[in-house]
Structure formats: structure tokens, C-alpha cells
């Protein structure tokens, strides 16, 4: 048995010895270096560009400007291609843009023999702009007379959708309801994977090869081809080890430009690596959102009806666009079960800001912050018990979603909360922290967390797996699903070992995806991989097992159905007798003069299901009121992601998510100069990514309800841990001080005035 064990990662040895090869480690010497020129205005048009001086710099090979690139608008979101036109992503950018839409837009590219020449050339290019007033917030962008960024989107509204369950207007007529309102805001933040965005491209046999640090190799192939106007098969994408992604690389970033640049210099090897500074403004960010919530509640805490408006800041280009806002809106439908009605509308609005795309948990951290902060505001106002309030309103056991067909099979929320309460000492500390005085106070708060697993039925869910038995009985496996640091390769290997009946050590997974040789897959996003790839692995392993046992029939003169493979041996099912080792069988199959056979299997599974992933966070904080400082004393996340494939890796995944959610709540935000639209903190010094000193102990616990819809009982865990800590911390600060702060991060700059207004200072 391999599933459920904390086996070491398959890539751990290579990673602790420095042998694991990432994109930049693979590139041959002598590559040409490409660098991108970014605009120094936030909104306008490039009127003229003078590259004469720059072109004369020794070492400069070629300069391509926004006037040179083909007029092919393309979309970058890492979604599976949608056959239906109305579901396709918005194609609103060019390889280089004449129409400038953010401070830092891509307007030219230099190809040079080395980095120094490329950088010097960037500085020597003279640009003439026609400048328009910029808009940084959705409100400003939607205002009358605001500059329109994209021609087909009046008022800069990329999309506006709404839904209503029940009849809101009549629901709120019920007598005795208490109306509670609140506005909640979340910041624009960045993924900050430690490996920089990087790719290199060259031509081989008339095709363009792009080696890239991407989460989505097959999707990248399609987008590169679309952007260059080439048949998809003319592109080959290779994905080596990846230094983190978190959704930023679930977007096609500079791969199309890189491919184009190589094409423009006759297919020579061109490397395009961003700096950390560029990564902040020129890749993707998490949507900043603003929620206005109005709830109608009975005095006992039962929510009768809720209304919400979401404003989502898209930035300059559509990327994942309104899909993210839609997912935020789904939280309102799923987390709390309003008794009579709910009414929600969401706007995704273009602004002159960095483009927002996918970032770990895709709109849900924003929505959970709003919904769970608002829940606590109701609780405080009506003097309710936070746990009881949630039990009264949360998604009930047995709930069946008519759209996704998801079922809430178990009492996961209560089971998770129970563990969280016990660990943190909820009841004692709620009592202990009542009626505090003085400048330093403690508090305790919590938040629920909700997520899906994968993207069905919004998008395609498919995974393919290829397996072959080596001549020594070991297994070679390939999948289109990618290792991006989360440990997918290890979990996949455990699954394969489990179903095929071989030892974990005998599973050799090929980590690198190469679209020329790797079976089709969609990649790492949506907390989908262990769930969706699980089907493909199980199905393929069963096909392969059948082939092996069929071969064993010839050798053993026993029926295939009476035999099994256990720990790498062919055994008799009835009594476990070992008939021969799989190694012996494999050698025979490979070289038999009578009946040689290459034992392989390959299959694709299209998954048409989804699964809820539930959890919660409990935080205990100490607030220094005069300093406006919050210190986390203790924090726990509890998740029900079904059966754990590898408990140690699952725990590590939760740690990382908690860390990101803590940063979201307490420190991280991208700050802009209102006058120019320029990002002020585009580096890891001024952007406050937490260090070890900023982290408390991160407690991760699980509830393991075997997910009935899943091949191995597992469901989403990649993103969920990054959801609930920010709101739990905010609620703990409220508990400590009585002050409800509705905008994160809770920095001293924000807390000090809030405490002052509340009369605490």
C-alpha cells in the first residue's frame, strides 16, 4: 500500500543537492538575451519610437517595436480552449502594445548578445507618447468621461453578471429582520514565486521550441501558436522543474513574445527572463476587490436574505478576467444558506493597473474575507456565538448543488471546527479575553473556508496518462499534469504504485512535460491535479495490470482473473502464492523469442464531476493598540480534502497556504503612485513578503472523509489553505479590540487610525 503514506518526495534528492534543473539551468551558453521595454506612462498611445541610437549599441542584434508585431490580438488565460465562442477568453493584447494601458506595458523588445547590451539599448530607445488620464480604481474607470481602455468595453466594464436565488425584495419584508451592512476591501497582491518568469525559444525542424517555467505546457503551446498565427503543432513547449507558480504561471506570460523574437532572428536561441521588478507589474496579480454586503437577519442569527455587489479590479488586460469574479460570487451561494433569498452582482472592470489573473484560490480569498468578516460583524452586533451562528447558516449536510452536482456528503464543517476549537482552546479563551483593558489585548477569531476541486462543469476536465513496464518490471509514467513544487509527482507515483501493485520505489515518473512526447493534460490549477489525474492514473494502471496478467496467463497457465500483482510480484489471488516476480515477467515479455510484447498502456479520462473542499482557520492574536501591531500567537487550519495521499506533503501544502493567507491579512499589498500609476513597491524589500521571523508556528490538521466521487478518495488541497487565515486574523483583532477593520492588510498604517477613531488611542 502506497497511498496514505508520508513517503519522501520523488524529487527531494535532486532538490537538496542542487541537481534539479530549472529553466535557466538548462540553457546553452551563447543564447541571445531579450529584454522588454516597458512604458513610462499608464495610459495613452505610443506615437513614435526612435531606435536608431539603441540599434547602434555594440552587441544589439535586433529591436522589435510595437509597430512591427503582427496585428493578432490574443488571450493569455490558462484555461482549456473553449469550442464555444462565447466561452473563449478575451483576446485583448498584442505581442507588444501601441495602445499603452498600464505603467509598464510592453512596447518594444531588444535582442542582444548579452544582458548589458540589451539593458543599455532599452535605455537608449526614445519613445514619444500621447498621454491620456489614467484610472486606477473600478469606480474611476466606470465614471462618466473616463478614458476607455479597450474599444469594445464601454465604461471599462469587462463583464457584469448577476444572479438571484429566491425573491430578495419580498424576503426582506419579513417583520423583525435586522439589516446589517458592510463594505470589505482586499488588496492587489503578487504570487512572488522565487524563480523568476523565464523562457527560452529556438527553432528546430521548422518549428518553434519554447522551454518555459509554466504550470500549463499544453495550454501554452496553443496560446503561443494563436498569438503568432501558426498551426498549433508548429509549437513545442517543454516544462522543466518549476520554482513555484501559485497561478501566475497559469497564464501565458512572455512565451509568445519569446517565440516571436526567436523567429525574428532566424530561429536562434533567445532567452527572455524578467527581473523581480518586472515580475510585479508585468506578469499577473490577484484581483483587488471591493464587496458591499447587506444582510437581513433574524435576532437569533438566522440569515434570511443577503445582497452583495462585487467590484473587481481587472487591471489593463483581461487575462482570467471575470472568471475570477464569478468564482468569488459563488462563495455567496455556497458558504451560507440564506433561508429565503440572495442577490449578487459582480463587475470586472479594466483599469490602468497590472493585469489580474489567477492566484491561489481564484477569487475565493477575497470573497471569504468579505463574507466571514461580515459574518463576524453580524455576530458582534447581535451578540451571538460565532460557532453557533455558523452552524445555523452554513451549507447543510446533504446539500446538492444543481449546477456542479457537488454534494456535501459529510459533516465536514463541524468536524473541522471541532478540531480547530480544541487545538486553540476556543471556549476558554473566548471567556478569558472578555472585558480586556489596557494597551495590549488578546483576541481569538475564526473563519470557514470553502472551495471546489477542479473546474468542471465550467470548463473541460481531462487528464491523460502513459505507462510502460521497463524490462526490469519497474514502471515508467508520464502525465500532462505538472509538478510545480506542490509534490504532484510524488502523489501520482503513490497512486500508480497502489493500483498497479508495484513498489513505490519502482515507479519512475518523468517530471518534465514536453508537448511532443507527453500525453495531453491541462496542468496545475484549480486544485485539480490529484483529483483529475487520479482518474487517469487509476484507469491506465488497471489497463496495464490487465495486460500484464494476460501475459502472465501464457506463462503460468492460470486465468488472468485469478491472479493479481502485489508488491511487484504476480500472485495467486486465492492464497497469495507468489508465482513469479513482475521483473521476471517483464524480462520475458521484452525478450521472449516466442511471444515478445511491449507492456504499455495509455488512456485519457474526462472527469465530469467536482468535489467540495472544506476547512476552517482559528487564530489567536495579541494587538498592541498604540503601535497598531498585530502578533499572531497561534494559528491553525483544518481541512477536509478527503483521503490524504501523502500526509506529510499535505501538511506542507497547508503551511504554505497559511503563510500566504497570513501575508494577505497582515502585510502584503501593491502600492501605486496615484499621479503616475506607477507601482511603488516592485521589489521584495518594499513588498512585505513574510520572512521566518514573521511567522508563528503553523498548525495543520485534517479531517479525512473519503470523497465518494474521487478515484483515490481525495479532493482539492492546493489552494484551500490560502483562503481562511486573513479573515480569522481580522476577526481575532475584532475580538481583541472591538474594532472591525474591513480592509486588509491590517498594517499599523491602517490600524492606528482605526483604533484612534474608535477611541482606543
Amino acid at each position: 500500500m502506497s497511498v496514505g503514506k508520508s513517503v519522501p518526495r520523488v524529487d527531494a534528492f535532486d532538490k537538496v543537492t542542487g541537481r534539479a534543473k530549472y529553466t535557466d539551468d538548462l540553457i546553452e551558453k551563447g543564447a541571445l538575451i531579450a529584454k522588454v521595454l516597458h512604458s513610462t506612462i499608464a495610459n495613452g498611445i505610443v506615437v513614435k519610437m526612435d531606435i536608431s541610437e539603441a540599434s547602434a549599441i555594440p552587441g544589439v542584434v535586433k529591436i522589435i517595436t510595437c509597430f512591427d508585431v503582427p496585428d493578432i490580438p490574443f488571450a493569455t488565460a490558462g484555461h482549456p480552449w473553449a469550442l464555444e465562442k462565447s466561452h473563449q477568453d478575451v483576446a485583448d493584447r498584442h505581442l507588444l502594445n501601441r495602445r499603452v494601458r498600464l505603467y509598464g506595458d510592453d512596447i518594444a523588445a531588444v535582442i542582444a548578445e548579452d544582458e548589458v547590451a540589451a539593458s543599455r539599448a532599452l535605455r537608449a530607445i526614445k519613445v514619444e507618447y500621447e498621454q491620456y488620464p489614467h484610472v486606477l480604481s473600478p469606480e474611476a474607470a466606470m465614471a462618466e468621461g473616463a478614458s476607455q481602455l479597450h474599444k469594445d468595453y464601454p465604461k471599462n466594464i469587462l463583464a457584469h453578471t448577476s444572479f438571484e436565488d429566491g425573491d430578495f425584495d419580498s424576503a426582506i419584508l419579513e417583520e423583525g429582520l435586522i439589516k446589517i451592512e458592510g463594505t470589505y476591501e482586499t488588496p492587489m497582491v503578487q504570487h512572488c514565486h522565487i524563480e523568476l518568469p523565464i523562457s527560452y525559444a529556438y527553432m528546430e525542424a521548422g518549428r518553434i521550441v519554447v522551454v518555459s517555467a509554466t504550470q500549463i505546457p499544453h495550454i501554452t503551446r496553443r496560446v503561443v501558436a494563436q498569438a503568432l498565427g501558426l498551426p498549433w503543432g508548429k509549437i513545442r513547449v517543454i516544462k522543466p522543474y518549476l520554482g513555484g507558480g501559485f497561478g501566475n504561471r497559469q497564464d501565458v506570460l512572455y512565451e509568445p513574445l519569446n517565440a516571436y523574437l526567436s523567429q525574428q532572428v532566424g530561429g536562434r536561441l533567445v532567452k527572455l527572463e524578467l527581473t523581480r521588478e518586472e515580475t510585479f507589474y508585468a506578469t499577473r496579480v490577484r484581483h483587488a476587490m471591493k464587496f458591499h454586503l447587506t444582510s437581513y437577519v433574524r435576532p437569533n442569527g438566522r440569515i434570511v436574505a443577503r445582497k452583495c455587489t462585487v467590484l473587481s479590479n481587472q487591471g489593463a488586460y483581461a487575462s482570467h478576467g471575470h472568471s475570477v469574479t464569478s468564482k468569488s460570487m459563488t462563495v455567496f451561494r455556497q458558504l451560507y444558506n440564506d433561508e429565503k433569498a440572495k442577490k449578487i452582482e459582480g463587475y470586472t472592470v479594466y483599469t490602468n493597473m497590472p493585469s489580474a489573473g489567477a492566484m491561489r484560490a481564484y477569487g475565493v480569498p477575497q470573497a471569504i474575507f468579505a463574507v466571514e468578516s461580515h459574518a463576524e460583524d453580524i455576530i458582534t452586533r447581535l451578540n451571538l456565538d460565532p460557532i453557533r451562528f455558523r452552524q445555523m447558516n452554513m451549507m447543510p449536510v446533504g446539500y446538492h448543488d444543481p449546477f456542479s452536482k457537488n454534494v456535501n456528503y459529510f459533516d465536514s464543517f463541524n468536524q473541522c471546527m471541532e478540531k480547530g476549537m480544541e487545538y486553540i482552546g476556543w471556549n476558554e479563551k473566548r471567556a478569558l479575553y472578555k472585558n480586556q483593558k489596557g494597551p495590549v489585548r488578546r483576541g481569538i477569531g475564526m473563519s470557514l473556508s470553502w472551495y471546489n476541486t477542479g473546474v468542471w462543469p465550467i470548463s473541460l476536465e481531462i487528464s491523460s496518462c502513459r505507462m510502460l513496464i521497463n524490462e526490469d518490471g519497474s514502471l515508467q509514467m508520464q502525465l500532462g499534469e505538472t509538478e510545480i513544487g506542490q509534490g504532484a509527482d510524488t502523489a501520482f507515483s503513490q497512486m500508480a504504485a497502489e493500483t498497479l501493485g508495484v513498489r513505490f520505489a519502482d515507479v519512475h515518473i518523468i517530471s518534465t512535460q514536453d508537448t511532443d512526447t507527453t500525453p495531453f493534460g491541462l496542468g496545475a490549477y484549480g486544485s485539480r491535479q490529484t483529483y483529475v489525474a487520479g482518474f487517469a492514473i487509476k484507469q491506465t494502471a488497471l489497463i496495464l495490470k490487465q495486460k500484464i496478467l494476460k501475459y502472465a496467463e501464457k506463462l503460468e497457465h492460470k486465468m488472468a482473473c485469478d491472479m493479481d500483482i502485489v508488491s511487484g510480484n504476480i500472485v495467486l489471488k486465492s492464497n497469495g502464492t507468489v508465482l513469479r516476480s513482475l521483473a521476471a515477467l517483464a524480462e520475458e515479455a521484452a525478450y521472449s523469442m516466442e511471444h515478445a510484447e511491449h507492456l504499455t498502456a495509455e488512456s485519457t479520462y474526462q472527469c465530469k464531476s467536482n468535489a467540495y473542499s472544506f476547512g476552517c482557520s482559528f487564530a489567536e492574536v495579541e494587538v498592541d493598540i498604540p503601535l497598531g501591531k498585530v502578533k499572531i500567537l497561534d494559528i491553525i487550519n483544518v481541512h477536509d480534502c478527503g483521503q490524504l495521499i501523502n500526509p506529510q506533503l499535505a501538511e506542507a501544502q497547508v503551511h504554505g497556504g497559511m503563510s500566504m493567507s497570513i501575508g494577505y491579512g497582515l502585510g502584503e499589498q501593491m502600492l501605486f503612485d496615484e499621479k503616475t500609476g506607477r507601482l511603488l513597491n516592485d521589489n521584495l524589500l518594499d513588498y512585505k513578503l513574510g520572512t521566518l521571523l514573521d511567522h508563528p508556528h503553523l498548525e495543520a490538521q485534517f479531517v479525512e472523509n473519503y470523497e465518494p466521487s474521487s478515484a483515490y478518495g481525495t479532493k482539492g488541497l492546493g489552494e484551500p489553505p490560502a483562503i481562511p487565515c486573513a479573515s480569522a486574523i481580522r476577526n481575532a483583532v475584532l475580538n481583541a479590540t472591538g474594532v472591525a477593520v474591513n480592509t486588509i492588510p491590517l498594517t499599523p498604517h491602517r490600524l492606528f487610525p482605526a483604533f484612534k477613531d474608535a477611541g482606543l488611542i
Binding site: D11, V16, Y241, G485, Q648, S659, L685, L692
Partner: protein, 163 residues
């Protein structure tokens, strides 16, 4: 382009090469010596991924000029593996404690851990956390990295006490 000869010891081996006077030590180690455990995450000394040990002390090699390495003794992660491919205790601890995810910050962290382990001194929890705070990691929340270093420290202490 002005080049200068840099003679130094890298991972126990005496080396010499001409480098661009503007090149960083990261560039020299990666490009001239293919020591690709030395990672680039920011190139301005913020993230710690490029950490190497120079004459016994940790440095961000991205903000250390290659020409300054002349006459120095430099160690990178590649030096830790034993002659028969044995992992060092700290590398094994990173595996055992689940401290590795994407692996990009791992080499730098291990080098700082090594400096701590070889210092021979004792650290309080806070001191140890501070020593490791020069590295950024986005995957792990540092939980298991801290555990790996702390456990190895304790293990080494116990070993030396037994001697």
C-alpha cells in the same frame, strides 16, 4: 568589456578564469562553473536563493562581484555531497522533515543552515529564526525548514557530546 583574472578555490578545487569585471559571483558560478544550485531570485540581495559560503561566511552571491572572489574559498551546495553520493545530515533533514517543495530556495537555505551548524555555537529559538530570516520561501511557510535546521543542530550537539 573589461575582463579580469579571478583565482579562487571553489568547493575545494583551485580554479581560475577571466570574468567580466561587472559580473556577479552568481553569474560566474553559474556560467563559468555550471554550479546551478546557485539560484537567481531577485539579483539584488533580497531573497537569499544565491547564498554561498565565502571564507566561512554566508553571502548573497548576486550582490558580490565575481572579481572580489579572487583569493577566496567558496563553497556551494554542490560541495555537500559525500564522495560516494552520501547526503550530508542537513540535506537528509530537509528531505525527512518535508522542507522541500518547489526547491528553488532550498540550496540557499541549506548553505545558511550549514554556516549555523558549523559555527559550533548554541542558538536560542529566536536567534535561529533570525539567522534564517534572510531567505524568502513562498511554498513552505518556513515551518519544516526551521524544523530541519533545528533538528540537525540538536543531532550534531548530541553527537559531539557523545564523543
Amino acid at each position: 568589456m573589461q575582463k579580469q583574472l579571478v583565482r579562487c578555490t571553489i568547493n575545494g578545487k583551485e580554479t581560475e578564469t577571466y570574468v567580466d569585471v561587472r559580473a556577479s559571483l552568481t553569474d560566474m558560478l553559474r556560467n563559468e562553473y555550471k554550479l546551478t544550485s546557485v539560484k537567481k531570485g531577485c539579483e539584488v540581495g533580497e531573497c537569499g536563493a544565491c547564498t554561498v559560503i565565502i571564507d566561512g561566511e554566508c553571502y548573497n552571491s548576486c550582490i558580490y562581484l565575481a572579481i572580489w572572489a579572487d583569493g577566496k574559498n567558496i563553497r556551494t551546495l554542490e560541495s555537500l555531497l559525500g564522495p560516494n553520493g552520501e547526503l550530508s545530515d542537513i540535506q537528509q533533514a530537509f528531505i525527512d522533515e518535508g522542507a522541500v517543495q518547489c526547491g528553488f530556495c532550498t540550496p540557499g537555505f541549506i548553505m545558511t543552515a550549514l554556516e549555523i551548524l558549523e559555527s559550533g555555537r548554541e542558538y536560542t529559538r529566536e536567534e535561529l529564526r533570525k539567522q534564517l530570516a534572510g531567505h524568502l520561501c513562498r511554498c513552505t511557510g518556513y515551518e519544516n525548514i526551521y524544523k530541519a535546521v533545528e533538528k540537525t543542530l540538536k543531532k550534531r550537539k548530541a553527537q559531539s557530546a557523545n564523543k
